[in-house]
Each structure stands twice: as structure tokens, then as C-alpha cells.
Symmetry: C3
Subunit: 440 residues, 3 copies
């Protein structure tokens, strides 16, 4: 089975539905950068496709960072003077400041206030707040609810633990014909938030499942990791071999209704950049392109100057650009199956382009080869309109001097990549092209 | 005599008339890629300027191709049941499928139909069709005539021969001071078709005649060849020395009323590309520029990756973009003397630019040389407006560091090439410049 | 004291007033390319900041030129038949053709006319004319006055001397931490003309005075020289060390009301070019940019191909583009203190950028360093808006791979240079950056 076959039968709605169903199972889990939430999440994903789960002990030095303590939480609430739970973690994982230190106390509203987080400009939603590297406790709640809290004594409980343990991440490696790797990286540390980033987890999982079943030229590495500390940890543990990653994408925010958005790699014109842009342009639907910036998701770490890997990020609406971002409104209704399926399709198309993008060498570089005698050319000359396949043949033969990849040829000629790929296959079959050993 | 002198007295209408008269003599000949038609054509051109005629035996292997059989034709017609010739090669060479195999047969209209070629969308004209590499017989005719053919028995005769013989082409070499060559290539295989490409044959011939009479820096090579197989044959026979071609143009479609159109070489920014664009821009008339594509005339072969010669194509309306293209409407009325003459003028201007485009080295590179003491500068300072010649002096002195040609300087300064050329001559005369030995 | 401190307290109007006052003292002096006028001018400037005065004997060979004779003038006038001085050098230095040969004669108006210079299109002003390299005598006067001269005998006197002497120029060298130099060059040969170029003399002087009082990374070289022959003389005398000039500006026309205009160096994208453009863009006021041309002021000589120094010219309205140019209307009213002060501020900002523009190397290039534990990062995550300083940190850390200067980073990130500079200083203070030894 080839990836072309797979694309030929791809059903956007069906795949989107399956992705949304998986996301629905992941939604209630309270994830953080460490702890059982991420373990439970990885266990659910491994039902789709098995992969290794790595545990890195707290305190491990990873470059400039230290693997933090493991955080686990059983319960959290604020009870008012009447004994009613006015804020209850069991109702929504966002209610607790993520990675909150444990607390059990009674206090006045005034004492409680510095520990509350809400959004005055979006008074109905619960914000998502974290405090990983400074020990704090706190609660997040809708601003309207916060304003209605009467004076009085409150009981606050965060029944959490912050203890020596491990940082957990998932890693799936699919070996291909070549050692060169394509990296697909997704952060897995957000609690009940769908677009950012359960959508990324389900897309990566489904993509891995598909790729496990096709012939692969490249090797593929999928990472399901806590943001920042996770990619830093992976880089530190794989410092010597990380250079094998020749192309990479960070997956996030792939389930909303916005157009696809590509954030370029630090290099700006790497093959992954050109491949994604070619796919988006060929999709015929609107899309956006952003230059690299060192702010964002884990591409920040992969693009640090000591690695400078060619890793971009392909999303729909980017982080911070939709009002539901990092609030309880980023939920199962906000993310729709049809957009999840469409995003997965684009990822598959990018992979297909990378897989097929080779350099060939014309075996008859002096003058054109005689296509007619091989049945590759219309024998009746004088016709005004050269056929499209013939144009693809001519472009490929003309530019296959070892310096141009099929993507180069597609870009210069205006012939689509898939037509170039088919035409090159035919020419190779007739001995008119051989693969070049030169790197792209 | 210099090419500048020649340009000074060039009479567009007079030259155009001479070109059209020569074309009129060539028009009735039935040319093909081999045979007596091309021999007769070359003989006529050799009345203008003598050159070698090469004969390459059928069956000769030329790269991936084989020199085909020689085709000759005496007569061809379709006679109806009443014995009338309804299609008659003697009335127009286009009536026979070019390179048609011989046939003598009687058949019904239904049997005849697969051998007829016409253009439903242009019912009054005879189309031009060929079948070089698949043996076929056939006739071309106006669609209106075809539709009126009644049922009944037809006698078809193509009195042609396809036999071992030779491929014939003309080659003129004008030696210059340098071994580096400028290639002017024209296809000579089309029968009674004027713009494509009797116009090219007469322009090349007249250009050669002019250049034979002037002092030449470059050597010039003119090829009058059958399309595709001709250039491939020439490349195969001159494989070791073809690299001497530093600049080249394929001449075609230079007699219609459209604006000049330049198709760039595969390299895209070769000196020939910049020279042509400079000339077209300086002409003050509209012109068009097209990027290289591997579809077209013999530039396809010269640009094949094993040669990659810097060969563009300078035409008026390109092939396929005028409705008369490859039909009997591409006739002696469609091509006009004034456009032929204008095209020849542009070719001469391009040659003049190539000839004059040198790199010089400023012999006083530190500070400006004192132009005033050499009478090259207005002695009365403080004048607001620097004169144009002085600006040319300053630009040339400033940029003549061995890295910039006169064309580079003209492009950067906005001073015209001819002003740069005159100014450089004056500076060289005063010892302030010497020619650089570095390649352009 | 740093240049930043200096900029923090810079008072445009106060500095402009001081510059205008200095200009007012220089205005009456009759300068030329040699002679006591330029000596007197340099003496006045040395009251502000002491510097060396160089004397180069007449007849000294300097590249293709020869240091000319020294010109001095005591008086010059035209007296009419009635004994009245109708043109009087004592009333305006422009009345005499600059560098005029001596003359004492009586002649008719017709004989006098070839020695008179006026501007028919600007009949009220005295033009500025020179004749350095052809010995002539002459007078400049308003055209209206010229037209009113009656027939009759005139007595003409130019009481000047053209004798062996010296060419005089001023040179100030401020040593910095590095041997690399910034050149500030100003022509000092124009008589009573304010924008071109007393404005340049006073700006250079004030800039030198400021820079003498701050810590300097670069060494600074200020030249006060006669135009053309002065820079050629300096280059000839400093041929072996001129290469130390890494950045340079020619100062002229910095006192009119027009927008700042930058003429790029011959290199076009040198650091000085990018620095000036960054400063002008950041100024928030309109500005103009012109490509290099070999016509202009002494940048012509510094940019000659044997030196090719990275020297641009930063002016307000360029030479020849204001009607007062090279006439008596370029006077103390035409140049205004506020524009002088504003121009000086831009020069200081350019110097500050050059001084601060370094390459750093990220000492933790693998993954991001943990800013939080160093107090450099907001500890409460999940906030939608990254703060500006944090963005500067991230950009600098990401691009400080030894290949990017702070200016590169500012240009790519959109963060202002001064924010980049402050952020880099903080990072360096925390050991996260060290200066790169690689050249910019």
C-alpha cells in the first residue's frame, strides 16, 4: 500500500469523526507537564497505535533545565461559608491552576483573591493558567462568578501532590528505507482544551496509524510530549542523533474552522517549508503563511541555534488568535470533525510530497531523448497544443541535471507536483531517468 | 566597416523589402525535414551568401535519435468519382501530410476520412500536419471542402518516396577575433509557411550577409536546419566544440505585426538575455518577455542539460499565439516587409551590444583620475548640472574594477549602452581604461 | 559617560543654536581649496575641539592629481566709469570667481562680459563659480545688476595671489577600543555658503566634541578638507591604512528644512547603509534614500574602485535639489538651528547604533535557556500576550549563533535596535550571551 493509494480513498468526514470521537475520550483527563494525566492520555492513544512510553526521573538535568517534580491531583474546590462548593475541579479541570501546589486552608475573600484567575473581558469562561516553575496554588473561574462571591470565610482545598517522580512522554518511531527522519511533534500537557491541543494529539495519532501501514522512504518519529520541557528533554536525551530529523512539523490547533496556517521553520526556505506551501497552494483553499518567530510551541526548541532543525508548524488558527484560546470555550463543540479531517488530509499530502520529492538525472542529457519511439509522445506533429503530460516530460528531462528536485521542477514549470511525480515515474520506467544520489 | 556604421545607415523598409522578395522565392518549395525541398531552399539562400551544405546519411545515430529516411514528393491528389482533383498538392504544399508515405488506392469516403486533416474551427484554411516518426499517409484540406465531399469512390495518390538518403542542413561560420561563438539557428523544414519560418530563414541570411562584411570580435555560426532532428544532429556532430557557443538566438516568427517577444535562455540571466532585454527596452517600443520553457523550437535542444547553452529565442508573435499559425493563412500577405526589417534591426542591435560589451579596468583606481587635465571635463566648476558624458565617465571609472561589464554599468547607471560604449572608448584612448582579461 | 547617556539629554534646539552661532562666525570667511580662508576656518573650529592641521606643499603628486598653488585674496572689485564699485568682494565673498587669477585692467563692457557669471533664471542672487584647474579671472553678480551695467570703461581688480604654498586640511582622530575606524568627512572649501557646506563643518565639529567625551568602541576620524583634491590628498597620504575605515559618512547640507536623505555607499548594503536606514526608519519622520552614484561629494573618492570604502552621505536636501544651492541665497537665514540640531541627533543615533551593533553567541544554544529561574521571564504561564522584552530575549537567543548582529536581529524581528541592545545587555549580564569574535 502506498501513500497515494491511501490518499485516493481518504474520507475527510469519516476520519474527522473518528478523530473527534478519540478526542472526546481524552477531554475529561486533567493533563499537566508531568503526572498521571499524561500517562492516561498516552494509554488511550496507544489503543490506536502502540508506541513506547518514556519516563525521565524528576531532577534529571536536561541542558539548562531540570525535570520538575511530578504533579498529581485528586480534588480541588472552594467551599463558601454555607458549605457549598462554589468552584469544583471535578466539574472542570481548568478550575485549578495547573500544577498548583497543595493547600488546605480557611480564609477571607480578600485573602483568597490573589489566588483567583478570571478574565474580566470574557466573564463567562474559565481561563487556563499554569505555574510550573514557581510554586503557587490557585483557582481559575468565570469572572461573573468571581464578582458574585460574597464576603465571608472560604475553605480552599487543592488535594494535589508535587513529588519526586517522572516526566512522561510518548515516542513512536516508524523505520523507513532511509535513516533521514520526519519529526511530528505534539504537546500533550494541556488539560480539557480541545483545539490547543487535543486536536494535535488525535491528528498525530491518526497520521502515525496511516503511515505505519504504507511503504515509507523516510523514517518517521512521533513525539507526544509536555510543551517546552518535553522537547528540551527529548533533545537532551537524543542530542547526538537529533540531526537525523531533516523535516519536521509541530502539530497544534488543527480542529477549528479557520484556514490552514503555516509558520515557517527558522531556515525559512527549507524543503518542509516549500513542501507545505506547495500543498496549501495546490489545495485551492485559502491559507496563511507566517514567518518563523521564536515564540510559539516546541518549534522554538527544535529551532534553537544549537540544533536549528527544519521544523515548521502547520495549524489552522494559530495560538492566541481565537478568543476561545486557553479558556473553557476551547471545547468539543469548538472543534469540528470536518476540520480535523481536512487538517489530517493536508498533513498526509505534505508527507506524500516529501516522500516523492527526489532528484533525478536525465540519462540522455544531450538533446531531448526521442519520446515518440517509446510511445511517450503524440506521433502526429504540428498540433498547436502540447499535451500536459508531454510538458511534464519535457520539464523533467530538461531540469533533471542533478540540481533540481521534482519540487523545484513543479515550482518552476507550474506543473503540479503529482503530475511531475507520475511523469517522472514513467520516464524512470523507460530508463530515461535515474535517481540522483545528491541530497535535495 | 563596423557594425555601428552599418546601423547608422540601416534602412528598415529597404531591407524588409529585400527580405520579403527572397521569401517570395522560397514560398512555393515543399520543404520537409529531409529531401530536395530543403536542398533547393539552401541553394536559394546561398545566392545571398555562400555557406557549406552538410549531408548526413539516413540511419546515422545522433544521440538518442536516428537520422530518418529521405522524403521526396512529386505529386499528390485526391480525385473524386468524376475524375476531378478535389485536393491537389500542386496547388498548395500543405495539402499533403508532410512526410507522407506513398499511396495509390481507391476507397470510399469513409475509408478516406481517417487520412484527412482539417480544422473545424477555421473552416477556410488548410492546416499543416506532419508525421515524421510514424509512417502514415494523409491529406490536409479546408474543413468546408471536407464537409462537401459526397459519398462515392475516391482515388488517392501520394507520389512520394521514403528512402535511404540524407538529412541536409546549411552551416555558415564567420570567424571573428575570438574563438567564442554566437549561434544563430533557424529551422528550415516547414513548407509554404511564411512567419513560421521563412521569416527566420531570410532574417538569418541577411544578418549573416551583413556580419560577413564587418569587423567581428566574436565568431558567428549560422545554422539552417530541420527542426529538432537538425539541431540534435548538429549537436551530436559537434559535441566536443559546442561549448564555444557563448550566446545564441533561435530565429522564428519575425515577420508579423506583433511586438518583439523574447524567450529567455534556460539560464535566465545570461548575457544574451540581458543584452536582448536592454535592446528591447532601449527600442522604445512595446515588447514581451517570457521565461524559458522546454517547449518551443531548437532552443529545446541547445538547452538540454548536457549542453545548457545560453540560447534564447527572439521572435515577434510566438508560435501558437497567432491564429494563422500552422495554416495556409501564414502566407506572404501575413508577413510584412516593415516587420521583417524591424526584426532584423533588433538582431543587429543585439549583436552590436554583444560585440561591444567588455569589462575594462580603471588604470587609476585610487581616487578619480583628473579628467580636466585631459580635456575630458568641463573646467568651470560649481555648475549645477553635470553633463551626461561626464556622468558616463564617472560611472565607468567607478565600476571598472574588473567585475563589471559595460552592460552592467549601463544597467546600474541608467546611462544607455551606446553612451557607455562611446565614453569607454574615449577613456581607453586616454589610457584611463584597459580591457580586462576576465570573462564577462 | 556613554553615548546613550548623551542621547538621553540631547537638546535639539540648544545644540542647533550653538551650531548656528558657530556657523555665523565662519560665514564671512572667503574659503577656497587652498589658502588662508581654510586656515582661518580650521582655527575657529579648533576653538571647539583641538585637532591637527596638515599642510601639503603645492606640487605634491597625489595619485593622478597635483596639489595646486595656494590662492589668497585681499580684494576684488569692478569700478565703473564714475569710479563707483559696482561689484565688491568686500560685500560678498561670492562676487569673485573662486580661485580667480589676479587681474588689474581697464576694459569695455564687451571685453568684461566673458568674465562675468550670473543666473538669468534667478536674477537677484549671486552665483557661486570656481575655476580651480584652468587659470581664469572673473566676477559673479546678480543678473539684474549685470543687465543694468551701462556701456563704458570699467576698472577690474582681483588682488589675489596664486603661488607655491600648501593645501591645508584638518584631521581629528579619536582612538577607540578597536582599530576599526568610522570616518566623518566634510568639505571645507566653500566660501560664504551655509547649507553647502558650513552646516557640515559645524555638525562634524559638534559630533567630534560629543564623541571625544564618551567611551568609544570604534576609533573615529574626522576630516575637514577641500572637496575632491582634499580627499584625494588624504587617501594618497594614508593609502596603506585607509582600509581601517569600516564605516563612513560624508556630511553636507544638514541645515535646511527638507527631510533627511541618505545616499548609499557604493556597496549598497554595507553596515553603515543598514544602520542609517534603521535610524531614519525609527525616527518616525519622512526620509529619502538614494542609490550610490559616482557624482556628489567626497564619497566619490572614498568609493573609487581602488578603495571602495563603505562611505555613504547623510544630508537633508541633497546638492542641486534646492534653488538656493550654490548661490548667495544659501545663507544664514536659509539654514535653521532646529534642522541643524535634528541632523546632529540623527548622526549621533547612527553612531550609537554602530557602536552597539555586535554579534553575540548564545552560551546555551541547545533548547532555550530557562529564563524563569533567572528572573527574566514571567513565571505565570498561559498568558496570551508575551511581553515585548521576552520577545527580544527569545529573538536574540535564537539568532545569536555567531551569524547575526543585533541589527540583523532587529531587522528580522521587528524589535527596535535599542530594545535589542538592552535585552542583549541583560542576557550577557546573566551569562547567557558572550560577544562573538566574528566580524559583523
Amino acid at each position: 500500500m502506498t501513500i497515494q493509494d491511501l490518499l485516493g480513498t481518504f474520507d475527510v468526514q469519516k476520519q474527522g469523526n473518528a478523530m473527534h470521537a478519540l478526542m472526546t475520550r481524552l477531554y475529561p483527563i486533567c493533563r499537566s507537564i508531568t503526572g498521571d494525566g499524561i500517562r492516561e492520555t498516552l494509554a488511550e492513544l496507544r489503543n490506536q497505535i502502540p508506541f513506547a512510553v518514556e519516563e525521565v526521573p524528576s531532577g534529571t538535568q536536561v541542558f539548562d533545565w531540570t525535570v520538575p517534580k511530578e504533579w498529581n491531583i485528586r480534588d480541588a474546590y472552594i467551599r463558601n461559608a454555607q458549605g457549598e462548593k462554589v468552584v469544583d475541579f471535578k466539574k472542570h479541570t481548568l478550575h485549578v491552576l495547573n500544577y498548583s501546589a497543595p493547600v488546605r486552608a480557611k480564609m477571607s475573600l480578600a485573602e483568597l483573591q490573589p489566588h483567583l484567575y478570571s478574565l474580566p473581558e470574557q466573564p463567562e469562561v474559565i481561563p487556563y493558567r499554569t505555574s510550573y516553575y514557581t510554586e503557587r496554588w490557585g483557582f481559575c473561574l468565570p469572572h461573573r462568578l468571581r464578582e458574585q462571591l460574597p464576603e465571608g470565610e472560604y475553605e480552599v482545598v487543592v488535594d494535589s501532590t508535587l513529588e519526586e517522580g517522572a516526566l512522561t512522554y510518548g515516542e513512536l518511531f516508524l523505520r523507513g528505507e532511509e535513516e533521514d527522519e520526519v519529526l511530528i511533534s505534539t504537546h500533550a500537557c494541556h488539560p480539557s482544551l480541545c483545539n490547543d491541543n487535543l486536536s494535535g494529539l488525535v491528528l498525530s495519532t491518526m497520521l502515525a496509524k496511516f503511515l505505519s501501514g504504507v511503504r515509507r522512504r523516510y523514517s518517521y518519529r512521533f513525539l507526544f510530549i509536555p510543551g517546552a520541557i518535553g522537547s528540551i528533554t527529548w533533545l537532551a536525551r537524543n542530542e547526538a542523533t537529533a540531526f537525523r530529523v531533516k523535516h519536521g512539523l509541530v502539530v497544534a490547533c488543527v480542529g477549528d474552522s479557520g484556514p490552514m496556517t503555516y509558520k515557517k521553520s527558522r531556515r525559512g526556505n527549507a524543503e518542509i517549508d516549500r513542501a507545505v506551501l506547495h500543498v496549501l497552494e495546490a489545495s485551492g483553499t485559502p491559507y496563511r503563511v507566517k514567518d518563523f518567530s521564536p515564540y510559539g510551541y516546541d518549534e522554538r526548541q527544535y529551532s534553537s541555534p544549537g540544533f536549528n532543525l527544519a521544523v515548521g508548524s502547520l495549524t489552522r488558527t494559530p495560538h492566541g488568535e481565537f478568543p476561545e484560546y486557553h479558556t473553557s470555550a476551547d471545547n468539543l463543540e469548538f472543534v469540528r470533525p470536518e476540520f480535523l479531517g481536512d487538517s489530517l488530509l493536508r498533513y498526509l499530502e505534505v508527507v506524500r510530497l516529501l516522500e516523492g520529492n527526489r532528484k533525478y538525472v536525465n540519462t540522455n542529457p544531450k538533446g531531448e531523448p526521442q519520446l515518440g519511439k517509446r510511445g511517450l509522445y503524440s506521433s502526429l506533429g504540428g498540433n498547436v497544443h502540447a499535451k500536459q503530460l508531454e510538458m511534464a516530460f519535457l520539464w523533467i528531462l530538461n531540469l533533471s541535471d542533478g540540481n533540481h528536485s521534482l519540487l523545484d521542477i513543479a515550482e518552476r514549470s507550474g506543473v503540479s507536483f503529482s503530475e511531475c511525480e507520475s511523469a517522472a515515474a514513467l520516464l524512470a520506467q523507460h530508463g530515461l531517468l535515474v535517481p540522483s544520489r545528491r541530497a535535495i
